[in-house]
């Protein structure tokens, strides 16, 4: 949707929310519509210039602001929002089918009947169209059968802090921390737990399968999640400090390009011989010396020399173990 369409769409939802006798709180509107106060005011200014012919002040939408509240009048024709659009119905169907396939809902349960009611708002032609397109779009989610799901969901639901024992792969250590739970997040093929971390004093994503234990604290959570966040910023290894190591690796072309898809923060350079050079920074080399083992003879370390020593030591240690098994 372009900028104009997005703004009009927002304004047509905004007007009926304000058009009540009691008006609406500006703060709540900003939160609900996910806009800044400045953006909201710009929308209200534009609406103030709109209305019916002959567009004299008496025909235009009237806007009044008192303290934190805003009131609108002379816009009775926008008393209810625009009905659910084709795009919105499509989004709900795609999301609904993802949650049903992953086993979070049953096909015949309340979600199925609710989606039918939403589709009932479309015209027959739209409905056929949306169903056809929804058949061809699929987002796959893993069902999560592991431990901690219920405990975390409960923490989110009742707004209660949790103490986590968490294994950080990038630091190669298990640490204990109190967190304020926000939500469960599916991203890049893994389930994460998004929370405010008291240890890091920042928002963090915790991979569910790296959580060692979960303990409710009884402390009431004090924060709420922001609507938008950027995943790599929250994953530790992408925000190295000044002490980070500069790593330079060379992979066979195929491997290198596959890694480029997985590591958005690294710099990739194609070499004339078809190999790919990967450069990035990391605070800790231990995880990397483990991570590289699976590439066998398909990579080389250009720097740091320290990493090469670590990898060789690890391989020698492991070969000792695997070698003994053979006999």
């Amino acid at each position: 949707m372009d900028r104009v369409a997005a703004r009009i769409n927002r304004m047509l939802i905004m007007v009926p929310l304000i058009l009540r006798e009691e008006g609406a709180s500006i703060g709540e509107l900003c939160r609900a519509l996910d806009v800044s106060e400045k953006e909201l005011m710009e929308d209200l200014d534009t609406l103030w210039l709109c209305g019916l012919p002959s567009y004299t002040p008496l025909d235009l939408i009237d806007r009044r602001i008192e303290g934190d509240r805003v009131y609108l009048s002379m816009a009775d024709y926008f008393r209810r929002p625009l009905t659910v659009t084709r795009q919105e119905a499509l989004t709900l169907l795609v999301a609904g089918r993802a949650l049903i396939s992953a086993g979070f809902f049953e096909e015949k349960g309340p979600l199925g009947s609710a989606l039918e009611k939403v589709e009932g708002l479309l015209s027959e032609e739209q409905k056929g169209d949306v169903e056809d397109i929804a058949q061809r779009i699929e987002v796959e989610l893993d069902s999560y059968s592991g431990r901690w799901w219920e405990e975390i969901e409960k923490g989110i639901e009742i707004g209660q802090n949790i103490v986590l024992e968490y294994y950080s792969y990038s630091r190669d250590e298990v640490t204990e921390r109190e967190v304020e739970p926000f939500s469960l997040v599916w991203s890049r093929g893994h389930w994460y737990f998004l929370a405010w971390c008291h240890l890091a004093q920042d928002t963090r994503l915790f991979r569910l399968d790296r959580i060692k234990s979960v303990e409710p604290t009884g402390h009431k959570a004090a924060r709420s999640a922001e609507a938008e966040f950027y995943v790599p910023e929250l994953v530790g290894e992408y925000r190295p400090g000044r002490k980070a190591h500069h790593v330079k690796l060379r992979f066979l072309g195929r491997e290198g390009r596959r890694l480029a898809e997985e590591w958005p923060a690294a710099v990739f350079t194609d070499n004339p011989d078809g190999s790919v050079t990967v450069e990035f920074r990391t605070r800790n080399l231990t995880w990397l010396s483990n991570y590289l083992l699976k590439f066998g003879d398909r990579f080389q370390i250009e720097s740091p020399g320290e990493l090469e020593v670590m990898v060789k030591e690890k391989v020698t240690e492991l070969l000792g173990v695997y070698g003994r098994d053979e006999s």
Binding site: L47, P81, T83, T85, I137, R188, E261, P264, S289, N290
Partner: protein
């Protein structure tokens, strides 16, 4: 009057009137300050009508009985969101569904947000909004617009063009693709469509697109192709590496106490697990993809090792010896 005001005024006027309005009437009201001639006005109105339709607002052309003049109207019945009669369980389910894509960085974020506000509209007035456990879907950040363009072309059935480099290809190849389907698997997006260069249906991983994605701009309101009626997204996307091997392998792994809790973090299914006195955990898995399984165990470094079967042990050993060969150390 700027475009946003004009489109809102047009919608307001037609909703308020409730009966058809002719272009002549519009020219003295909504378009009163328009300075072109009749033809220019007709074109502008046509564009406005198309834009509103894209937003979900349908302007219907009605001919009065016996009359020659065409009038335009927005049906109030079709425009206004009706009260939706939902049970509490249905409301919770829809709440979860509409929140799934909030802030996801996909073209679904916006519609998910507006759908959520609309579905909560009547609940908002009286009852407090039901709190639902929040589950979200977040995309890998990529060049903004790629996915928007692809989704838009899929919906309108317009041909896409882009350069694409498959993993094994040295140079990117220019492609023209009829977008049939879109799939997100393990966090990556795939476009499934008929490649006009290869003349067959193929899957394209979006990460491997090396250029801007262009959409055929000619006659935007008419489709460029038909999707075959027997097109089946799941069938096209049943890739070999996802299929279980002919014979599933049973593998045993020993975990050091420190990381034993993470024994379920891979994709293989756990059959049995046994904890020894010293905290070591021995786990038996049913393995579908041996390569992926060995990769996963090696990521644990010295904290996990494969005990059996000998074939998988040999695979792990081969990887490790390969590392030494490549790093120029003595071969083990």
């Amino acid at each position: 009057m700027d475009k946003i005001e004009r489109l809102i005024n047009l919608t307001a006027y037609l909703l308020d009137r409730g009966h058809p309005v002719t272009l002549e009437q519009l020219s003295t009201t909504v378009y009163a300050d328009h300075e072109g001639g009749g033809e220019a006005l007709r074109r502008m109105f046509g564009r406005d009508k198309d834009e509103l339709r894209d937003m979900g607002i349908e302007l219907e052309a009605v001919t009065a009985a016996g009359g020659e003049e065409v009038g335009y109207t927005i049906s109030r019945e079709k425009y206004y969101l009706p009260q939706i009669d939902l049970t509490p369980q249905e409301r919770i389910a829809l709440g979860m569904v509409s929140r799934l894509f909030l802030g996801s960085g996909t073209p679904f974020s916006g519609p998910a947000h507006s759908a959520m506000l609309k579905l909560a509209f009547d609940a908002r007035a009286g009852h407090p909004e039901l709190e639902v456990p929040s589950m979200r879907w977040v995309d890998v950040p990529r060049e903004r617009g790629t996915l928007d363009t692809i989704l838009d072309a899929l919906v309108r059935r317009k041909v896409l063009s882009f350069s694409y480099r498959s993993l094994d290809a040295g140079e990117p190849l220019k492609r023209e693709v009829e977008p049939y389907g879109l799939l997100n698997r393990r966090g990556s997006w795939y476009l499934v469509g008929r490649c006009r260069v290869r003349e067959e249906v193929r899957c394209f991983k979006l990460d491997r697109i090396t250029s801007k994605v262009g959409r055929n701009k000619k006659s935007p309101r008419s489709a460029d192709f038909e999707v075959p009626t027997d097109f089946d997204l799941q069938k096209e996307a049943r890739w070999e590496w996802l299929l279980p091997c002919e014979e599933e392998v049973k593998a045993r792994v020993s975990f050091a106490p420190r990381l034993a809790f993470a024994f379920e973090s891979g994709r293989a299914n756990v059959v049995t697990s046994k904890r020894l006195k010293d905290g070591t955990l021995k786990v038996t898995y049913r393995v579908g993809d041996p390569e992926e399984f060995v990769d996963w165990v090696l990521e644990f470094g010295a904290d996990a090792r494969i005990i059996s079967p000998p074939e998988l042990v040999a695979m792990a050993r081969e990887r490790l010896q390969g590392v030494l060969r490549s790093l120029g150390g003595e071969d083990g």
